[in-house]
């Protein structure tokens, strides 16, 4: 347990260092972007000094780390405001679409796996679906539900200053856009175990006794695939939160993914680091949980 925790902390440290280095390697820094498109070079230099970007990268990284240990995530280069509250607000907004999407993906993924277990064509369709680019999927959903049926808003604007509870309908498209590929992925990864269990004597026997397929699924199949399902669900929890960027940007939903995208665009390192920290922590916890489940299953 201690070893696992140490590993997790080391991984986390590696991730935030890696993200910091990658951001430092990007062309242009926050000073250049803030100073504007055709800025006077002397102005850029002045701004760099102001933001502390004239120091070497390791000095900047160390002072960021030092702040982190005191619970201080730093201030945004763009608006000078503390990163913490903005992060919390965006994390909350993302949770509102990620958590339902996760539940939906797990339930739908298992159901689909049960249905397509014995159909090669069905599983090929699932595979194709899970490989669908998010841009195509979101456009398709908008076309079907917003433009076509006119039932849902085509972009997920929240009431200004309000929360998603005031307009729950805006959550539907982002949740679907996140859940569908995840469900397909889960269905693909548990299809093997399900097919395997369906071929076992006790299931065949139950079938011959005339037990209904639904009952077979619940009583005989699910308990035996609980391990792989839980493992897949844990991995999904991490990847869903870390993978909201495209969906949130296309649907104008103000979550963590969009914050990350805009922070990268403006090289706002303190914000990028904070989002990376949260994403990495969630993914790590998810992977640890998945590992734990796998070990428990093996015993």
């Amino acid at each position: 347990m201690v070893a696992a925790l140490t590993r997790a902390v080391l991984t986390l440290a590696a991730v935030v260092t890696g993200v910091f280095l990658l951001t430092a390697l990007l062309p242009q820094d926050a000073a250049q972007i803030l100073a504007g498109r055709q800025a006077d070079p002397s102005r850029v230099t002045a701004l760099r000094v102001e933001l502390g970007l004239d120091r070497p990268w390791w000095a900047r990284f160390l002072s960021w780390l030092a702040g982190l240990f005191q619970g201080d995530l730093g201030k945004s280069y763009v608006d000078g405001r503390p990163v913490g509250p903005a992060l919390a607000e965006r994390l909350g907004a993302s949770a509102l679409i990620v958590v339902p999407a996760w539940v939906l993906a797990v339930v739908a993924g298992v159901l689909v796996a049960l249905v397509v277990a014995r159909h090669a064509a069905g599983s090929a369709a699932v595979a194709a679906f899970s490989a669908l680019p998010e841009v195509v999927l979101v456009s398709g959903l908008v076309l079907a539900f917003a433009t076509g049926l006119g039932r849902l808003p085509a972009v997920s604007l929240l009431p200004v200053g309000g929360s998603a509870w005031d307009a729950p309908e805006v959550l539907v498209l982002p949740i679907l856009a996140l859940a569908l590929p995840s469900a397909a992925w889960l269905a693909r990864s548990v299809r093997g175990p399900v097919t395997d269990v369906l071929g076992r004597p006790f299931v065949v026997d139950a079938h011959l006794r005339g037990v209904s397929p639904a009952r077979i699924a619940v009583r005989h199949v699910l308990p035996h695939v609980a391990g792989p399902v839980a493992q897949g669900a844990a991995i999904l929890a991490g990847s869903l939160l870390a993978g909201t960027t495209v969906v949130e940007s296309l649907l104008a939903y103000p979550g963590l993914g969009q914050l990350l995208a805009t922070a990268v665009a403006s090289r706002d390192v303190p914000v990028i680091q904070a989002v990376a920290l949260v994403d990495a922590a969630v993914v790590l916890v998810a992977v640890l949980a998945a590992d734990g489940i796998a070990k428990a299953g093996a015993r």
């Binding site: 803030l34 055709q38 006077d40 972009v155």
Partner: protein, 500 residues
Amino acid sequence: MSREFSRRAALVLGGGFALAACGKSDGSSPGSPSSGGTLRYGTVAAGGATAVADPHGALFNESDWVRMAALYDVLCVPGENGEVLPRLATTWTSSPDATRWRFELRTDAAFTDGRPVRARDVLFSLRRIASKAAANGDRLGTVDIGRSTADGNVLELVTSLPDAELPRTLAGVTFVVPEGTETFDNPVGSGPFKPARADAQGIAVVRNDLWWGRRPYLDGLEIRGFADPQALSVAVVSNLIDVAANVNPATAKTAERTGRLAVTSRPDALTYPLLMRLDKAPFDRPEVRQAVKLAVDRQALVDSVLLGYGTPGNDAPGPSDPSYPRDLAVPARDVAKARSLAGGLNVVLNTTTAYPGMVSAATAVAGQLREAGIAAEVRQHPAETYWTRVYTVEPFCLGYTTDLPFPVWARQTALSTAGYNETGWKDPATDRDFATAMATTDPARRTELLRGIQRRMAAEGGWVVWGSAASLTVAAPSVRGLPSGSGFARIFLDGVWLQR
């Protein structure tokens, strides 16, 4: 604003009479502006959707500019055709050499917390803007803030150089906060609106009944920034917002095709000039520059790149400025002459994906040059590196300019003293005429001097300003009175109303 409105009203009224005369009036002629309603306004947040709170630092999101213009008052605002209209300042005069400016402020302006707006508050705000010059693109221009003073309702600004165009430089950007303000979580301004609610994506403001100006028609505004232009387009087409400002030509065309949305345009807002460096081969040879100017088909570029939302240009670099030489003819295409001047030449035209239209413009230009025997290859660069490593460096590039006042633009990039020089234009006559113009307080004479500079640049310079693009706004048909002036006039929404 009022003049703009009456012109608009006259047009509409005229249209109404014409329709009535035809006997098929649809009854939609809007009489006088009606009050009430909340305008849902959206625009692209290019640099990121993060809303900036400080009105004096870097404001690279259009949504931030619009918000500041709603919450805070400014000294003066741009009107039509480069004129400057009073706002907090009622009148201004300068010393004969245009180095000392006296702004008289109105005495009936008050902040939302009840305190009066004094010249000290304005000076404090200008000082903050000056201290953040690196981040805000040197917004105050020539103002020497250390020597400027405030007394009662009189503000005296001293400039480091003669600057007869100072009010135009300041128009629309001098957001005034109460003296001593350093935090902006609960904004206190003296603008036409006051804050109601805010979040990461947008802000809602309501009418400020204490404002000194004509009572805004709208009850309030909701201002949102969109990280993705496609999402902005979808939002206005599906009626989730009333206005999508600064959209690209393709979005405007799509909106027009729906038949349910109106496209309004502010002409000459943007240019994508070809920049030929005078200090680099082959463009150091005048006949090569001449050949490029003759080889481009300007109308074709306006049609294909701007989808018709623009005007062909005559290579004078400031089409939105009153000093633009309108009488200078647009050069007619002459492929044969271009070929005889520079046929057989190989050039690389550099461009970037930074703004919509820059790649398609380069591709179309390259095709036209090839028709004149100039082998042009398009090289595309990412936006991140373009402005630092390609622009002002490579001999042949696509540029991008907004409708800044011509003197501001010239000071930035076309004088010998400019921090960077986009075409390597270093011309003693330009420097001299510019200095004379900036020390000339008579507007007609000054404009004439600046016009002379623009003419010379068009004839001998390295700019091919093949056309100017309109800034396009898509709006629901009920939205009236959107700003039509140039430059920062676009961010002031207190004259907008919703037709009932």
